[in-house]
């Protein structure tokens, strides 16, 4: 248990960097409809934060802190939000995956030339957040499981 941790320096730097990387990943996900990025890229960045924790603290420690079942549930919630928003398009508007919020006052501002309001894009920010949850949960649980399995194989 103890020998798979790295030194105190690496642990300190990792625990400082972990929230910063997570905030950057949330930024990429939230601004996916305005700047380069989106759900997939931000999710990959967030999963890399979990990978940093695994490298610094060891797989068993991270598994005790954040259960792998929780990560899988997080991923499933993301997929569920995606499908629910898509099906809402049938009832609110016409077809599956309709962007039914465009033109509404809440998220539907159509930006002019040269301005970029955050509350534009219709359902795209919601779908971005859903896919971001999915990718964070999925990739983090895969990295965690692979790390645990390779540790077990050495014994």
């Amino acid at each position: 248990m103890n020998e798979e941790r790295m030194s105190v320096i690496v642990q300190t730097i990792a625990s400082i960097l972990f929230p910063i990387i997570l905030i950057f990943s949330f930024y990429i996900i939230m601004h996916g409809h305005l700047t380069p990025g989106g759900g997939f890229q931000g999710g990959a960045v967030g999963a890399s934060a979990v990978a940093l924790l695994i490298v610094a603290f060891g797989a068993r420690y991270v598994e005790n802190k954040m259960r792998e079942e929780n990560l899988s549930a997080f991923e499933s919630v993301g997929g569920l939000v995606f499908v629910i928003v898509s099906i809402l398009g049938i009832f609110v508007a016409t077809t599956f995956l309709t962007n039914f919020l465009v033109g509404e006052p809440l998220f539907g501002i159509i930006p002019k030339w040269g301005v970029s309001p955050l509350n534009s894009g219709g359902v795209l920010p919601i779908l971005n957040i859903a896919v971001g949850m999915k990718v964070i949960g999925g990739l983090a649980s895969v990295v965690l499981m692979l790390a645990i399995a390779s540790k077990e194989g050495e014994k």
Binding site: G114, V142, M145, L146, G153
Partner: protein, 122 residues
């Protein structure tokens, strides 16, 4: 056209990856070959959508001096980039599945050589 060098780079990447897949016996090297082929395909899609002197198809923070009149001819094509985005995530998922299968094969057979695995099968 000698200016088609990016397309030839794509073919070179795919050739390297296919060589690793076809003529290597180590399962990890085969996984690396599959990843290289994926990179080649992604580069091919991006290369197909490139337009000479183009900027990214994003209207936030455009380069100063860009006018609305010249816009459709000055941006790279967005559809190949979207397909590449999808393809990258699928590649990561498939690579995770391949590597976990390789770990299981190593645990059960004690080797990563594809021919020996085939021979050990009852």
């Amino acid at each position: 056209m000698i200016y088609n060098l990016p397309f030839m780079t794509v073919i070179a990447l795919i050739a390297i990856g296919m060589y690793a897949i076809l003529f290597r016996r180590n399962l990890i090297k085969i996984a690396i070959g599959i990843t290289i082929v994926e990179s080649g395909v992604n580069l091919f899609l991006i290369t197909l959508g490139y337009r000479k002197g183009g900027i990214a198809p994003i209207f936030t923070n455009l380069p100063p001096g860009t006018t609305p009149e010249e816009i459709p001819g000055k941006m790279v094509l967005p559809v190949p980039q979207a397909l590449t985005l999808t393809s990258i995530v699928i590649g990561v998922a498939v690579l995770a599945l391949i590597l976990s299968l390789a770990i299981q094969i190593y645990r059960n057979y004690g080797t990563l050589n594809a021919e020996k695995v085939r021979r050990l099968k009852e």
